[in-house]
Symmetry: C2
Subunit: 416 residues, 2 copies
Amino acid sequence: MTSRTTVDGKRLLKRLDDFAKIGGTPAGGVNRQALSVEDRGSRRLLAELALARGFRVFQDPMANLFIRREGLFPQRPPFVIGSHLDSQPTGGRFDGALGTLAAFEVMESLEDAGIETDFPLEVVAWTNEEGSRFAPGTMGSMAFAAGAIPEAWSDLRGRDGALFVDELEATLKALPEAEMRPLGFPITGYLELHIEQGPSLERENIPVGIVYGIQGTRWLEVRIDGQAAHAGTTALEFRRDPMAAAVTALEPLYRSAMPGDPRARFTVGRFAVEPGSVNSIPGSVTFTVDLRHPETNAIDDLEERVRQACDNASKANGCQSTTRQIFDMPPALFSDDLLTCLDRAAASLGLKTKRMLSGAFHDALFVSRVAPAAMIFVPCRDGLSHNEAEYVEPAHSIEGARMLLAATLEAFAASA
Amino acid sequence: MTSRTTVDGKRLLKRLDDFAKIGGTPAGGVNRQALSVEDRGSRRLLAELALARGFRVFQDPMANLFIRREGLFPQRPPFVIGSHLDSQPTGGRFDGALGTLAAFEVMESLEDAGIETDFPLEVVAWTNEEGSRFAPGTMGSMAFAAGAIPEAWSDLRGRDGALFVDELEATLKALPEAEMRPLGFPITGYLELHIEQGPSLERENIPVGIVYGIQGTRWLEVRIDGQAAHAGTTALEFRRDPMAAAVTALEPLYRSAMPGDPRARFTVGRFAVEPGSVNSIPGSVTFTVDLRHPETNAIDDLEERVRQACDNASKANGCQSTTRQIFDMPPALFSDDLLTCLDRAAASLGLKTKRMLSGAFHDALFVSRVAPAAMIFVPCRDGLSHNEAEYVEPAHSIEGARMLLAATLEAFAASA
């Protein structure tokens, strides 16, 4: 039966185009940041498509969106597939959307083929995977795995000043058709299809990556306080310039962190200067550091080097630096059983695959703490993601969806 | 007669307090940026004080504000004293306000003493000296000296997005009591009292600086374009990171520019990153460089070093940099005749002085291109300016006003 079932490639590509219009940018990307009007619009469209097919739609207190197709034994925990619908401010049209829409395509294909599964299948769109408007990312899956919304988020504000809880409530209210359900519940397993966001599959000309784990990610926020003063009158010996301190601290880190270890990732993505006047020495600078590595102790080491460099450069410039972790996700390894299902699926479809580690973090990481989980990657043109030029070949999107369908049926068979 | 005339110190200090309340910040500074509601409020207060004393009030198309006290020969060009009322976003209460209010105190003292001058005296508050909201600074005196508003300002926008011409018109309309007069007219001379904004007078315990010139200032805007990409998945060889390029370019400049030449000033006051996401390699960074030196060829040399460093670091990081001048003011030397008047005034008051060069630029610089001009500095606590903690001892503010009165009378005597 499995072999006779397949996805509707045309329908999937049409859906990708339709969703890319919601928050679409002139440059061909999307700006659909978490809990924004655009994010709500994409949730509405998905919910309406689901209700039109007779599927039930749920949301939990974190606004995680679930679409349910019943199984033979409705009381058994569902098998869940999906990803996220939110994007970076200047993001691509595949990051998140591909995995969510491919999952929905899998559900529709089963419905089209009249295939009854032993237990329920659910499609999920997790809330705020990107973390660009409200930090940290993967809030939805994080809270789902914890079974509760962290206290700290109650007064969290977005970069636009919006209060997280207000935007969350408005987003929930914007979808009254969805039935409310509690946060966190037992699931049989989780599969997520995603664009690689790196160049390796494309370079090796492999259509499918079977992801066995995710490297660790840690975000630091560094603030350096000096003293604002007049740019023209303040001689060097009277300066306490936090900009000079930041540059002095970062230069050797750029020179050593990644060249010194090909598996390390070192990125400064945000940098703010106060007061921000051309003719004033800044009073303070604040910047973020994104550190990644497959090994936790290597991340610890990188963090220590950042702290040391910022402290030393600040002292040398008469400034003070404070460095704090704003996000920390240890490396994770996925479920062997589900990896086996992915291998079988690829074999049945005759698709060449490679086992790989994910450089980006994903909702699957948090789900893997409460249930068996694994991921499928498809090639990403030029390795470009978090960029409006992000692109996945149509054939690769469709092959990814076929992998997701086949692996889901393998998982149902394995748990029968 | 001169010797019998003096200023009302209490009145001057009270005025400084009153004006510090307009746009006053909790930290004790002021936020009274050019053409803002707060700026308009301070212009209104000064105009009302002037009208209450029977002085005429004028404004020109640049919203430069003039207060006129008639002389024996009204047709002779006026002698002008004053400064500015606008401030930095987190500015001090003396920068500009002291010179403007001391000038008004001089005019009131002459009125109180019933002293008739041969020709008119005018107090001026120049528009947008700071340049923090609308760049460049000293727009008002620049346009006054040129006799026209530069074409380029017609579509100039502030950092808050406001259109310069709209805010200018609203500011002019906010003071209907002022008579309109054309931009630029003959003046006999110009004196400006200002806080030093540097530490030298305080360190040498000298109450009055006689400023013989102003060092040159040049502002550069550097933009480095790279490629936004995912922080976790993009290996070093695939990165085109403009943040890495900027840090690599700036580090050696901080190490060499000012240590290499004590008269040089090198400041990066603004730094913006796009898209500004923790987990995205930036697509572009833009920053400003403020260069100052008493000699033009030294400024040319510094600019060339900035351009070279940014080009080289950008190439090394697969990025492209563009550097453009956004402001350029050559060094200036003041009028020997007025410097002599200042020496005589100091001698008559028994005040110790020192001849000095200004590190900051001032409206006097542009006025000096169309008429004899000079400046008086008073000590600045800890050399701190463009800072809410900026402070001038009350005694020093009063001595500065006494210098301005005495020197103004010397100038009238000299031109009699």
